[in-house]
């Protein structure tokens, strides 16, 4: 491009700017855009943390931490009762979030896989930490109290519906059977056979908190394994059962 031609082309651009009344966007426009983007990331991250903590909460509530004690049988129950849809949806959302971060921030300088794995590890780790706080229990109680059925479905442990794992307190203990009251206030008749595996030679007693694996058969539950629950989990369950009993008495 020779100098004269160059000057002509420059003048064309400057003329276009004048004729189209092009104005510089004000500084606040870019500040606001950044603030909104940051806000969007914070909201998405907060949701992902809540979602991940909910998945962990569901696993814990369903006795996920205790089932491996039953060996291969327990592991099969975990696989069957794991909240797969919730977990897979969570993973997909985390991956999409990481891709968004890669496009919209300086994270583009890293390979996408590094960004995805970093976000996955951070969100999962923090989600587990949040699940250990009273937050999810508080949300669950709020949901139950206000009869928010659709959301309540997310909190109900699959074990209650599938009838493969029961958690609750014992009453009316007799040889070969006992009544178990679940955290939702449901009473179930449990049959204990000779083949039932009672971990650490446990002998059922009234007011004990237990986890039972087995199968529902009509109106009764045939126990394949029983484990006593102690510590914080036991106290949480006792409190929930008491709250439901109080609730029933008030009604």
């Amino acid at each position: 491009m020779n100098p004269t031609e160059g000057q002509r082309e420059t003048e064309k651009v400057m003329k276009a700017l004048r004729e189209r009344h092009v104005a510089m966007r004000p500084r606040w426009y870019f500040v606001l855009r950044t603030v909104l983007l940051v806000l969007l990331f914070v909201v998405i991250a907060a949701y992902l943390l809540f979602h991940t903590s909910l998945v962990y909460h569901r696993i814990q509530r369903g006795g996920g931490g205790l089932l491996p004690s039953f060996g291969w049988q327990g592991i099969q129950k975990i696989v069957f009762l794991f909240p797969w849809i919730l977990a897979i949806l969570g993973m997909l959302l985390i991956v999409l979030f990481a891709l968004l971060m890669s496009r919209k921030t300086r994270a583009f300088r890293l390979p996408i896989l590094t960004t995805v794995l970093t976000v996955l590890v951070l969100i999962t780790g923090l989600g587990v930490v949040i699940a250990m706080t009273p937050l999810q229990d508080a949300v669950h109680r709020f949901v139950e109290k206000n009869h928010l059925t659709a959301v309540d479905q997310l909190y109900r442990s699959a074990s209650d519906e599938q009838g493969q794992v029961l958690i609750g307190t014992l009453s009316r203990v007799q040889p070969g059977r006992f009544t178990l009251t679940t955290r939702e206030g449901m009473s179930v008749e449990v049959i204990v056979a000779e083949s039932t595996k009672c971990l650490e030679h446990y002998v059922p007693k009234n007011d004990d908190t237990v986890l039972v694996i087995g199968k529902r058969q009509g109106n009764v539950f045939a126990a394949e394994g029983v484990e006593k629950i102690e510590g914080l989990f036991h106290e949480d369950i006792m409190e929930e059962v008491r709250e439901h009993q109080l609730g029933l008495e008030e009604e």
Partner: protein
């Protein structure tokens, strides 16, 4: 100090202070470069000129978002890259993939290699003549590195790619060019 002797960043600073007529300096400096850059995307001179004009309009509109502590060159090339890619997508002349497997994994590639500068001049010459025979994703990094003389870091900023991927694309582009020359019986 003569306005034309000032750096791009200093010119931008003065434009933002109110001397908007100085924008013509940036247009003078970058128009030939962007027209040349556009030739790697579009065939028709008029189309390239139209897109370059739109680029300068976008640059002017968004000038207040530019951080004068950073280099101006990668910033304007980034705007130009997006404008040309969007035009290509609209015209469907060339498939521009949304998802690029090259950016998935880290690549252990050495960054800028100053020892090989001696062959850069030769590469520049052959590149200009044979660039259109290369796929787009290799063409752009080669153009930016050899013809526009930008660094790996700057190319990474413009194309929004990890630096290691820039290195991989340059290496693969050079290998492909060598194959083309071997086929044509040209000595590189």
């Amino acid at each position: 100090m003569d306005d034309h002797a000032q750096s791009d960043e200093e010119v931008v600073r003065r434009i933002l202070e109110g001397n908007t007529e100085l924008f013509s300096i940036l247009v003078e400096r970058y128009q030939p470069k962007l027209l040349r850059y556009g030739q790697r995307f579009l065939a028709t001179k008029e189309h390239i000129e139209d897109v370059v004009q739109e680029v300068f309009i976008k640059v002017y509109e968004n000038l207040r978002s530019f951080n004068t502590a950073r280099r101006f060159s990668p910033w304007i090339y980034r705007i130009a890259h997006n404008a040309f890619v969007n035009t290509l997508r609209e015209r469907r002349r060339e498939a521009v993939p949304f998802f690029d497997p090259d950016v998935l994994f880290p690549h252990p590639v050495a960054p800028d290699n100053p020892e090989k500068d001696a062959s850069k001049t030769e590469m520049k010459r052959v590149l200009d003549q044979n660039l259109n025979e290369l796929p787009g994703k290799y063409r752009e990094p080669l153009v930016l590195f050899y013809l526009e003389e930008l660094s790996y870091d700057e190319i990474s900023e413009i194309l929004r790619l990890p630096i290691s991927t820039v290195g991989v694309r340059l290496n693969r582009g050079r290998s492909l060019l060598k194959k083309i020359f071997d086929l044509k019986g040209i000595d590189l």
